[in-house]
């Protein structure tokens, strides 16, 4: 019902937008020969904003040709504009004795080829292009009598410097994280993968924000139809603005109403590069320090970058710890509730007596108590996240001491429940990318356990499993490689096999090139004199 309603709303909005879009892009206006006319048009389009700079000047050897440069203050590098655009145009051009100004169109070629000392120059003849590029940070040069404009890439604005990734931490391995500038992020990826087939495709999405989007993949590894599918899904987005990768995520999901995220994200260039090398595509958005990676498998939520930098045994062990922690964070309160209200015989008698004594005199049934505590915990967590750092201590004091301690001593909540909930809370932080999912599932499972005990827990788990099995991420089954089973890819699922043993890319991604390395990568000890291999 909800789904139907959402779909309908979405459809209506889409129709409206496509109408709007068709009106806007009806007729491209070409530049005229008259400079004043061109400037007038640009002023009309860009409005009276104070940050739009239009600088008139006279160029050529006898200062008789009018010209103007247009840029947006703050988006361009002023030094570059002054030294490499204005100075050559106004000074150096005059030094040249040849009279090139006779022919206007050859003048603009001359400026482009011999005067400006900047890298990227685009020649445009349509005014919409000029406006959109100026808004993106280009500097435009218009010359009297020429129907073309030069667009110079002299972008330069303040941005956050590259810092350590804040959310995906690793003790070993590179520290750097993405920042908010698209070019910096693509450069970070390019620096890791110097393969010429690493392709960075650009798109502009957002009717008003015109946000720059980049799709990063390696040609020859990724399945070709996957790229077409991603492009198709991105191109049908017609939103006002794309403020973060989170926007893109919600527009391209396979199962838009799913609680489970079927699009991966990472703020680390090394993780993103590893996924791209496995045959995935990354989607970067200007203004977002995260990269989306598609397709995503459920197992990715339990993989951490450090798994691959640490030794395999410990990495595999940690992976099991993460599975266990996730299971605890979802099921522990529910199992406690089920045991206390339905299956008391399962607890050993001494433990049962202790727990029963602690629960004596508590007014709430254990199910309601659990839900109450879970919600309280979520409130505390949210408060800790949102409020100013300086107040942080207050929350922990109130949360830990007042609520934890005094609720128990006042007899409102049983002490075992506090223990259960604290364990759950800690466990939920082990796999942070799954924490929000865990919180929702936890409440659902506790409610069912309160009504139906372990039977309900199993029923709801089977339903969740069946739902998970039906999910797809860009056509790839979400639960692969476990089901549908792919034995070779299990090397990086329940265990993390040594790197030299992982010869092939995950088969569920169906890459063009399945081989990751030659199969005999196991390191060998050098031969001894007797000809036998010696191990350490």
């Amino acid at each position: 019902m909800l789904g139907l309603l959402l779909k309908k709303l979405h459809f209506q909005r889409k129709n409206q937008n496509s109408k709007k879009a068709s009106v806007q892009h009806s007729s491209p206006i070409c530049l005229s020969k008259n400079l004043d006319e061109n400037l007038q048009l640009l002023k009309e389009a860009l409005g009276q904003s104070s940050d739009v700079i239009i600088r008139d000047m006279k160029i050529s050897s006898n200062s008789n040709v009018d010209a103007a440069i247009i840029y947006i203050d703050g988006l361009v590098d002023r030094n570059l504009v002054n030294h490499d655009i204005l100075q050559p145009l106004m000074l150096n051009l005059q030094l040249i004795k040849e009279n090139v100004s006779q022919n206007h169109s050859s003048l603009i070629d001359f400026i482009k080829s011999s005067v400006l000392t900047v890298g990227q120059i685009i020649v445009a003849d349509d005014i919409d292009r000029v406006i959109s590029d100026v808004l993106a940070g280009h500097t435009a040069i218009l010359v009297e009598g020429v129907t073309q404009a030069l667009l110079i890439d002299a972008k330069g604005w303040k941005s956050r410097s590259l810092e350590e990734a804040k959310n995906e931490l690793a003790i070993r391995g590179p520290r750097i994280g993405f920042n908010e500038t698209l070019r910096t992020n693509t450069a970070l990826l390019r620096r890791i993968i110097r393969d010429p087939r690493l392709t960075i495709e650009s798109l502009q999405i957002g009717e008003r924000s015109k946000t720059e989007i980049a799709i990063v993949y390696i040609k020859g590894i990724i399945k070709d139809s996957l790229i077409d599918e991603i492009e198709q899904r991105l191109k049908r987005i017609s939103a006002d603005a794309i403020l973060d990768v989170g926007y893109i995520e919600q527009y391209i999901e396979d199962n838009p109403l799913s609680v489970f995220s079927t699009i991966g994200n990472s703020e680390r260039p090394d993780v993103t590069a590893a996924r791209v090398l496995e045959g995935r595509a990354a989607i970067l958005v200007d203004g977002s320090p995260f990269a989306l990676t598609v397709p995503m498998l459920f197992i990715e939520g339990f993989q951490s970058p450090e798994d691959y930098y640490a030794r395999p045994h410990y990495a595999s062990f940690l992976r099991w710890i993460r599975f266990l922690a996730f299971a605890l964070s979802v099921y522990l309160p529910a199992i406690y509730v089920a045991l206390m209200s339905f299956h008391q015989e399962l607890l050993p008698s001494p433990l049962l007596i202790t727990v029963a004594a602690a629960k004596e005199g508590i007014p709430l049934p254990v199910g309601i108590e659990a839900i109450f505590m879970i919600i309280l915990f979520e409130i505390l967590r949210e408060a800790g996240l949102r409020m100013p750092r300086t107040l942080g201590q207050a929350v922990s004091i109130v949360g830990a001491l007042v609520i934890g301690q005094s609720a128990v001593s006042a007899g409102l909540v049983g002490a075992p429940m506090v223990v259960v909930l604290a364990t759950t809370a800690i466990a939920s932080f082990v796999a942070p990318s799954q924490a929000d999912l865990g919180a929702l599932l936890r409440i659902l499972v506790v409610i069912v356990a309160g009504f139906l005990g372990l039977f309900g827990v199993v029923i709801i788990s089977v339903e969740i499993l069946s739902y998970l099995a039906s999910l797809r991420s860009l056509g790839v089954p979400y639960l692969s490689p476990v089901t549908p089973l792919d034995i070779r890819s299990l090397k990086d699922t329940f265990i993390r096999a040594p790197l030299w043993a992982m010869d092939s890319r995950p088969a569920s991604l169906d890459p063009n090139d399945t081989r990751r390395q030659s199969p005999d990568q196991m390191p060998q000890a050098p031969k001894t004199k007797s000809g036998k291999r010696e191990r350490q």
Binding site: L452, V458, S466, Y467, P484
Partner: protein, 366 residues
């Protein structure tokens, strides 16, 4: 017009078969009636089950990519074929209701005496219906996760009761009169092994049909092997009690005691078996709705999931009056009632198809 676009692999088919055979047989032990020779009865039943599986896999191999509904239309002609199809669908539908009954009555009696039966019934029904709505692919993927888990639990269970076993309970071997043993063996064949006849609705969607028969018999062998061990275990642990109690496997788990810490975790074992019941009911439910959709040329089987589910729930509530009546039917009437469906329909269809030299175009002869 394709009603089901999904494809399942042979491995998934084997997992589905194992889950299906475990179905309710982990609650109600097959081979009852043969006393302490129950495990021999189960082994003989497995043989018979394999023979029957050979018949229906041969049939489905001959008509690749076709369910029994389409096959019988081809073999018998339109109207008679549909009549036979409706009979077959009835069998699936009724069997689904019986399996649900086994589970619901078991939970009512042993685990949740105060909970109304309808709540348990509707919840199992709901998860089956939602999975069937997602298609055979999703069901097969679930079975790949659930079946290994259950096998693991079954083996742990067996390991933990080893201290309570008395192998003398199994002696003397082959003591039961041969007639009774064979009857019990046929009982074990009709429930659960030959019930895999329901896979005539699923085999059409296997991605490598030529390997379908080996996947079916492989699944049957694994499940049968575990059921033989379970039957032997029940007798060894419970002795004479095995014949008397309604749910010997459940009682078995009750004796488990790990260092006075973990006792009475039969609930955990029992509840894990829901997963298997889920696979069995879902396969039967799927066969019913897909069969009905094919008989009546519907565009999608998803539209009739809700009405068929409600009907199945109603049949579950009404078809037997008491738990003892259910056991009586399962032991004395069901082995005969099931013969026309489990052996009759596939065998006759196969013979008629051979005589009429069907299918005439394409398709390999067996």
């Amino acid at each position: 017009m394709l009603l089901e676009k999904g494809k399942i692999s042979n491995f998934q088919l084997s997992a589905l078969i194992i889950g299906f055979v475990f179905g309710s047989s982990v609650i109600i032990s097959p081979g009852g009636g043969a006393g302490h020779d129950a495990w021999i009865a189960v082994a003989l039943g497995l043989m018979e089950g394999l023979l029957i599986a050979w018949i229906f896999t041969a049939l489905s191999k001959q008509f690749k990519g076709k369910t029994i509904i389409e096959i019988s239309s081809l073999v018998y002609g339109k109207i008679p074929g549909k009549c036979i199809s409706v009979l077959f669908i009835w069998y699936l539908f009724h069997l689904g209701a019986m399996v649900l009954n086994n589970y619901v009555r078991f939970f009512k009696l042993e685990v949740y005496p105060a909970t109304p039966k309808i709540v348990i019934l509707l919840l199992i029904m709901l998860i089956c219906a939602s999975t069937v709505g997602r298609g055979i692919e999703v069901l097969a993927r679930c079975s790949v996760i659930l079946v290994p888990l259950t096998v693991l639990i079954a083996f742990t269970d067996i390991l933990l009761v080893i201290p309570h076993m008395d192998l003398n309970n199994l002696k003397p071997v082959l003591d039961v009169p041969i007639g009774i043993l064979l009857w019990a063996a046929h009982g074990a064949a009709s429930f659960p092994f030959a019930e895999t006849i329901a896979f005539l609705m699923v085999l059409a969607f296997v991605d490598k049909p030529e390997k379908g028969p080996s996947a079916v018999s492989g699944g049957l062998l694994i499940a049968g092997f575990i059921l033989i061990i379970v039957a032997a275990r029940n007798t060894a642990v419970l002795g004479q009690m095995d014949e008397i109690v309604n749910y010997p496997s459940f009682l078995n788990a009750q004796v488990i005691d790990i260092g006075d810490m973990l006792t009475r975790f039969e609930v955990v074992v029992a509840i894990n078996l829901i997963a298997m019941g889920f696979i069995k009911v879902a396969v039967l439910f799927y066969g019913t709705v897909l069969g009905l959709a094919q008989v009546f040329n519907l565009r999608s089987y998803r539209t009739i999931i809700l009405p068929v589910g409600i009907l199945m729930a109603i049949l579950t509530c009404t078809n037997v009056g008491s738990t003892l009546e259910m056991f009586d039917f399962a032991k004395n009437a069901y082995p005969i009632y099931a013969v026309p469906f489990q052996i009759g329909i596939p065998l006759v269809t196969l013979i008629v198809a051979k005589l009429r030299k069907l299918p005439q175009t394409g398709g390999d002869k067996v």
